[in-house]
Point group: C2
Chain length 273, copies 2
């Protein structure tokens, strides 16, 4: 069996170094039991869209990140959802965001739920929270992480997927769901929550259902949201409401799609062998 | 660890039943040590392009399958390359194709090569070859499968990836490489072989380097190539040469890309929530 598949070194001068390094983090996260195999398939789908977007943060993603930051700062009970892919790719950035948004909690939220995996992911986040930050400072504040003790259910979802925490997602008013499936994004919307999605497919159900969709690779999107939160942290409520209210998700997705279409045209012209 | 991840039942009435069933075969193949985790990522990338193509065999794919069939029937030493994803998804169809093309051999050909995995894949194919066909007939002929005893190297490739069999790929004149990476497709071309690729990304290096590229999901492409081989099996050499020679891969890829672009436009119009 390939469970203990060995890690492959990627040469730094490889033209696709960054993309391959991210891929390696996913493979590693899967080998460590954080992500499931279906998560690898989902990451691959995202990679294809990232490639079509030019593997960069497009202006529409920046605008969406700003609206996301405003929504998070306006929230009474903001919750950041973490699944196996998120934990494999950006555990530290998730902790940073939880620290930057007042009152934010993290909740482990799995499509293929087992309590063992929820525990491993929670431990990964706790570990990320303990490690000193970039400037060598130890963590300043503890963050709330809801992991493997779900005590509530989201309505309109089948058994395992409905599980959540009463003090977490169940009572949240704003939820950030990076890499979420459409069913749960829909259930969160129907439960009256504001939904912020990070999704590389601008046509996915999640992307279209969310109030704010950041169409970008999570490894770029999350640091950008953290940056915007820090920029807006002292902004007035009125200003935040203007930013969030002025954001049109459908129009923003349409513009993103336009970029993919014109990018495809350019790629087809340039890249003949 | 998630090595023994349980299989999920997919309800037959699920709108994405077919795509989910294929996905499940990949997950299963990975759990059985046929495909590596990188293979799951690659499958995910393919899924995204399949989705953009409408998950169907477009006319350009049919034309490419016909040219592929002609090339295979014209070959002196045709070799069909099989990797972990191919073995997970279409082992029986691969055996069928090897039986339909006179003189064809199968060769296990891995990007992340270990002899253990090569052995498992060869065993999977041998098993597929032993099982009775659709009409309950037992296998009529044995097929040659080159697996875990590589005794030659393709020039211009790094260590593990260069390994091949002298009587197989090394001396082949036409090679079918489904789901192949660009480096090896390039090395095969430089070694003077005709390359037939099956690749869902019409912009990939493999797609652009190959002589004939079938842009289609392998679960649909392979049966279509088998069908075309059977239709053309009694055709004259002159007719086969006309079909193969009249095929323009670059133009065909351009038309496929055009379909993706217009498909994206349609999807963006129709699928508002």
């Amino acid at each position: 069996m390939e469970c203990r598949q060995k890690m492959h070194r990627i040469p730094r001068d490889h033209p696709r170094y960054e993309s391959l390094r991210i891929r390696q983090r996913m493979v590693d996260g899967s080998a460590r039991g954080l992500a499931v195999r279906e998560g690898l398939l989902a990451h691959g789908r995202g990679e294809a869209f990232d490639y079509l977007l030019g593997e960069r943060t497009v202006p529409e993603a920046r605008a969406a990140s700003r609206a996301a930051a405003a929504l998070l700062l306006l929230a009474k009970r903001p919750v950041l959802s973490v699944n196996g892919n998120v934990a494999s790719l950006v555990p530290r950035e998730m902790v940073r965001l939880a620290r930057a948004v007042p009152g934010a909690a993290i909740e482990v939220n799995l499509f293929h739920r087992t309590e063992g995996r929820a525990r491993r992911i929670a431990a990964e986040l706790e570990n990320a929270a303990r490690r000193p930050g970039r400037k060598g400072r130890a963590s300043r504040s503890t963050i709330r992480i809801f992991g493997d003790r779900p005590d509530a259910r989201l309505p309109n979802l089948s058994s395992q997927r409905a599980k959540c925490h009463r003090e977490g997602m169940f009572s949240a008013d704003v939820v950030l769901v990076p890499l979420e499936d459409g069913d749960r994004a829909g259930a969160l919307k129907r439960a009256g929550k504001k939904v912020i999605a990070i999704d590389l497919n601008p046509l996915s159900r999640t992307a279209r259902l969310a109030d704010v969709t950041v169409v970008d690779n999570i490894v770029r999107a999350l640091p950008e949201i953290v940056r915007q939160v820090r920029l807006l942290r002292r902004a007035s409520r009125a200003r935040l409401e203007k930013i969030a209210g002025g954001f049109d998700n459908t129009a923003n997705l349409g513009r993103t799609l336009g970029r993919i279409v014109s990018g495809l045209r350019k790629l087809s012209g340039k890249r003949r062998p």
